[in-house]
């Protein structure tokens, strides 16, 4: 049963990821691109579930879909062009050439890396038993304590930086 259903689920998630990714990079409207990003995020969350990592899947939805995409939506709406519609990327004549160059530069690393992965592929183990939240928590305060503290510092620094950057200086001059 599992050997039949897992590839089907994988295929569905892969289609979600690819379709969302395509929409995210090609759509002229940034709001639609954001919708594509959210679709991709859900696809990746599904893959985490498929790998029996439900905590990560939930975190993916909570952090990315809940927080990061809302932030991006705010950014789209706040940087509105006074002339046009919110979040629309204007077309220009250099677009075709630019797209072609981007396709070459983006696909080349992917193809090189992909051929390496294909050449040095190793046999995958059968999926290990799910890791409990208690184990994850213990690792976070054990071997990963420094990383855990550092990420808090990074988050605080990012928040302070964001506040300082967008702070309106009082017009004293």
């Amino acid at each position: 049963m599992q050997t039949v259903l897992a590839p089907i689920a994988y295929g569905i998630y892969l289609v979600l990821i690819l379709a969302g990714g395509f929409l995210a990079v090609r759509s002229p409207s940034l709001v639609r691109a954001l919708l594509g990003l959210i679709t991709t995020l859900f696809g990746v969350a599904g893959m985490y579930l498929l790998m029996a990592a439900p905590f990560l899947a939930l975190m993916q939805i909570l952090i990315y879909v809940g927080a990061v995409s809302v932030l991006i939506f705010f950014a789209i709406m706040l940087t509105r062009d006074p002339r046009g519609e919110a979040g629309r990327e204007a077309r220009s004549d250099g677009d075709r050439k630019r797209g072609l160059q981007a396709a070459v530069c983006g696909l080349l690393p992917a193809v090189v890396l992909g051929s390496f992965i294909w050449k040095h592929r190793i046999a995958a183990l059968p999926l290990k038993a799910e890791v409990g939240l208690d184990k994850l928590g213990e690792t976070l305060i054990g071997p990963y304590a420094l990383a855990f503290e550092l990420i808090s510092v990074v988050l605080v620094a990012a928040m302070i930086g964001a506040v300082v950057l967008s702070f309106e200086r009082r017009k004293s001059r």
């Binding site: 990079v25 993916q60 940087t79 696909l107 190793i122 999926l127 990383a147 990012a158």
Partner: protein, 102 residues
């Protein structure tokens, strides 16, 4: 194709799509969206490497979690930077922004 390679290929697709978007988008927000795609690919690859090889499971999963935290911090900062740049230059397109005006 074994599952490990399959997951790695999916992550690689995300990397390729993200790189393509980063280079072809002209607005800063579009670039930010592409960077998020690439970071997701990195997380997926990490978790696949931790779950399907003899590597320690918790380290890979928590690594992906840290990637998510970094992505959140990065999105916050980029939002602030884009807002400030938009206020100063009146545009959010990278080409127009990089033009020097004397």
């Amino acid at each position: 194709m074994n599952p490990l390679t399959a997951y790695h290929m999916a992550a690689l697709c995300l990397l390729g799509i993200g790189l393509f978007g980063l280079l072809s988008r002209r607005t800063l927000i579009g670039m930010l969206i592409s960077v998020e795609l690439m970071l997701n690919g990195a997380g997926l690859s990490l978790v696949a490497g931790a779950r399907l090889t003899p590597a320690v499971d918790e380290l890979g999963q928590l690594g992906a979690l840290l990637v998510m935290g970094l992505a959140a911090a990065e999105a916050t900062l980029v939002l602030a930077i884009v807002l400030v740049a938009h206020k100063r230059t009146g545009t959010s397109e990278s080409d127009e922004m990089s033009l020097m005006r004397g």
